[in-house]
């Protein structure tokens, strides 16, 4: 094989790989990108039914209810609106009322059915999206970011 042909072969294999990867990525993006929404987005009807989304905010104080068959019901709030959520399974160790939480699942009627409740390793960790959602609804306090979350206080 001539030098030029060799170079061409390597370039072609490289390009083919990149092309395959790009095609795979594009087709996977369609199905696997999950948008983040706040309770206000849901209340305002910005969220399609049955589409997989992430819903985040604070777990409303006093809203956690244990139901039969390992189902837990609770409400996620951004201070302006609150959405009812159900989840079947073991909640992460650091799931607590008044703390920031991100759930992934689908909206079924007025209830958000969570398939996953994202865990965190650190009580003081606030997912960036939740912090942003709280800022947007005007309920963000520096304190909330430090873990001692209080909803309904004056925004910062």
């Amino acid at each position: 094989m001539k030098r030029k042909h060799k170079r061409l072969t390597f370039a072609a294999v490289g390009l083919a790989l990149v092309g395959v990867a790009a095609a795979l990525a594009l087709s996977a993006f369609e199905e696997s990108i999950v948008f983040f929404h706040s309770p206000t987005d849901v209340a305002e009807g910005k969220v399609e039914m049955d589409r997989r989304i992430r819903l985040g905010g604070l777990v409303e104080a006093g809203s956690v209810q244990k139901q039969a068959d390992a189902v837990t019901g609770f409400r996620i709030t951004d201070g302006a609106h609150a959405i009812a959520v159900t989840y079947q399974g073991i909640l992460p160790d650091l799931f607590r009322e008044g703390q920031g939480v991100v759930t992934e699942g689908r909206l079924r009627g007025a209830t958000f059915v969570a398939e996953e409740v994202l865990a965190k390793h650190d009580e003081t960790y606030m997912p960036p999206e939740v912090a942003d959602a709280l800022k947007k609804s005007g309920r963000w306090q520096e304190e909330a970011g430090k873990g001692a979350a209080k909803t309904g206080g004056p925004g910062k």
Binding site: L17, A28, V34, D69
Partner: protein, 664 residues
């Protein structure tokens, strides 16, 4: 006093690093031997100073000096000694100090053992190391000082996050950092080579052991982290394609490619520019990983509270290092002239194919990891890219690579005969078909990838053994001579065989646990049973227990199969005294065929109204193979490192060039 001493040592180290970063570089440019000679003592002194600083911080932790903010926030007098020590790096400030300690350690190793490196190359390498160090010392001193005082001192500390009080995680960060930071050596050598405008076989021979060592540590670190997530988080999973996990995986992918392309430079004196570029990319991925983990810009299940100011600092550092090195590469890279090209079907061709796939996979993971940031930056909304994306892109890319991986080592350098190689691989083909058929017969309703994954694992495993047999000329000469050859195999060759075998075992484990995992979540009252994968889990109830610094609810499951008791699992849900933070300790029985895994959660009521506990049960087929395979890979890398030919800086430049020309 200790805290001030530590702080002072870091400041001194900054100044030493500043000198080490400038004088030797200028000296090397001017050919001034005296200025170049500054590099070695400076590197050793710098290491000494950071070691003093690190020792001070460790001392503060061990003696529980709560007048230091960092200790008060992350330690407690009741904590076991191991976790007092691991607490040093179980927090942001301390972990950055560990970062620079390891950076200085590698620099001092070059200074101490690089006696036969050409003086100009050594001076430049050490100067680049110091330049990186300067950035991180500034970072520590300006944004993350671990020695800050707290006045008045509290009576006791706030304790280390209980999740981190675990032997697996005690050693995970040092391992990971030895890997991340170890790639700085390859980077420094690459930048030095660009300044010199020359890369040769000797250069590759110096770069390889450092890259290999870093790769071993990184592999072990990723393995430890994944194992920890598996047993400590109680989700039964071992990899989530989480940004923080990807942050450690990208340098691993790029580093693996670098390891292989450096081999081509060493043996065949070609692919030079590409190898230098890979070295730059690999370390850039390490820096990017540090940025992603430390800045908290992405939602991660492994994230800890973060401070945005630090993120910005690392981002600037990242841009300077990556931008600067790529600019230098664009300017000087074309001067690196490689020896002639090789045929596409050849050993080099196989290695290059590995490189192309690894690089593409790195790019794909990078895209998926950074996409949420990019989209948010252009106002496209907040998204997350989850496992479906990575599985859909990453797995198809790996399949052809694994297929080629068994063939590559059988090809000759320069010009290979793929038909002959494939013909010799008939035992691997038989094994692959048998594995696929067996998997198909056992699990008919599983995903398509299950049998494919096992077939590839068998193909690679047996293919690697075929290659070993070829090297021994097994069956073509009498057995005695083959065995004599076996004893004479260089350790580097054994290393390759072991690492490839380890990957085959790991792939089998990933396939099993990924494709055929069985899970069951329910509320169980004492006496209830659940059937899973042919096993019967009987819940015998839960009782309160007490540990050194926690109280726990300990559940008891009796697992039986066909009426015979197999094992009793005792998962715990702990609540730590100081922080009140709960953690989950899964009950796991590891067997060759798979793990029995049980988690006990909160109290609940069963569907028919009886009181019980929420439980989560798993059968994870072959999952232990994954960590076993990773250990084999690390052992292979370590064995290769002990090879005489890889001993750090062992051969002089001239000697090597002659050897390289004579070899093969």
């Amino acid at each position: 006093m200790t805290a001030e001493l530590g702080h002072f040592a870091v400041i001194l180290a900054l100044f030493v690093a500043a000198v080490q970063a400038t004088l030797p570089l200028i000296g090397a440019q001017r050919g001034d031997a005296q200025w170049m000679a500054v590099a070695r003592p400076a590197a050793l002194l710098q290491f000494l100073l950071v070691a003093v600083a690190f020792g001070c911080l460790t001392n503060l932790y061990v003696t529980s000096d709560f007048s230091v903010v960092n200790v008060a926030a992350n330690s407690h007098t009741d904590k076991p000694l191991l976790y007092k020590i691991s607490g040093v790096w179980g927090n942001h400030e301390g972990s950055m100090l560990l970062w620079v300690l390891i950076l200085a350690l590698f620099g001092s190793a070059v200074a101490a053992f690089g006696a036969n490196l050409p003086p100009a190359l050594r001076a430049r390498v050490l100067a680049i190391q110091a330049l990186i160090a300067v950035g991180f010392y500034l970072f520590i001193l300006l944004t993350s000082n671990p020695f800050e005082r707290l006045i008045p001192a509290p009576a006791n500390g706030r304790d280390l996050n209980p999740l981190l009080q675990d032997p697996g995680l005690a050693f995970h960060p040092p391992m990971l950092y030895l890997g991340y930071v170890g790639f700085s050596m390859a980077f420094s050598f690459a930048i030095a080579a660009l300044i010199e405008g020359r890369v040769d076989a000797a250069w590759a021979r110096w770069v390889r052991p450092w890259t290999l060592a870093a790769w071993c540590f990184l592999t072990a670190g990723i393995g430890l982290g994944s194992w920890w997530a598996y047993y400590e988080l109680g989700w039964g999973g071992w990899w989530y394609w989480d940004p923080v996990e990807n942050a450690s995986f990208m340098p691993w992918l790029a580093g693996t490619a670098l390891l292989h392309s450096a081999t081509v430079v060493e043996k065949r004196d070609t692919l030079k520019g590409w190898t230098v570029l890979l070295a730059i990319i690999t370390f850039s991925m390490s820096l990017l990983g540090t940025f992603l983990v430390r800045s908290g810009v992405l939602t991660s299940v492994h994230a800890f509270a973060t401070d945005p100011a630090r993120g910005v600092f690392i981002l600037v550092l990242l841009i300077i290092v990556i931008g600067g090195s790529l600019a230098l590469y664009a300017w000087r890279g074309p001067q690196l002239v490689s020896a002639g090209l090789f045929q596409p079907i050849s050993r080099e061709g196989g290695l290059l194919f590995n490189n192309l796939v690894m690089a593409t996979a790195t790019a794909a993971v990078l895209l998926g990891t950074l996409y949420p940031l990019l989209l948010d930056a252009v106002g496209g909304g907040k998204v997350s890219v989850g496992p479906p994306f990575f599985n859909a892109v990453f797995i198809p890319l790996m399949l052809p690579m694994l297929a080629v991986m068994a063939v590559g080592p059988l090809l000759h350098w320069k010009r290979g005969d793929w038909r002959a190689a494939v013909q010799r691989l008939w035992p691997a083909m038989v094994a692959a078909l048998a594995a696929a058929a067996g998997a198909w017969a056992l699990v008919t309703d599983g995903p398509f990838l299950g049998p494919v994954g096992l077939a590839l694992a068998a193909w690679l495993g047996v293919g690697t053994l075929v290659e070993l047999a070829e090297r021994l000329r097994l069956g073509r000469e009498n057995l005695g001579r083959s065995l004599a050859r076996l004893a004479r195999q260089p350790r580097a060759a054994w290393g390759m065989t072991l690492a490839h075998l380890g990957l085959a075992v790991t792939i089998a484990g990933m396939t099993g646990a990924g494709a055929w995992v069985e899970e069951s979540i329910q509320v169980m009252a004492p006496g209830d049973t659940v059937r899973l994968a042919g096993y019967e889990f009987r819940f015998d109830g839960a009782r309160p227990t007490r540990g050194a610094n926690y109280v726990a609810t300990t559940g008891r499951f009796t697992v039986s199969r066909d009426g015979r008791a197999v094992v009793v699992l005792n998962p715990e849900k702990r609540v730590y005294n100081v922080s009140g933070q709960p953690t989950t300790e899964a009950g796991i029985e590891t067997r060759l065929t798979g793990d029995l895994y049980a988690v006990v959660g909160d109290r609940g009521t069963t569907a028919d109204g009886r009181p019980g506990f929420v439980t989560r049960l798993y059968f994870n087929p072959l999952v232990a193979w994954m960590w076993g395979g990773l250990m084999i890979m690390v052992a292979g890398g370590a064995l290769s490192l002990t090879d005489r030919r890889h001993r750090v800086g062992a051969p002089a430049r001239r000697g090597i060039a002659a050897q390289a020309a004579g070899a093969d």
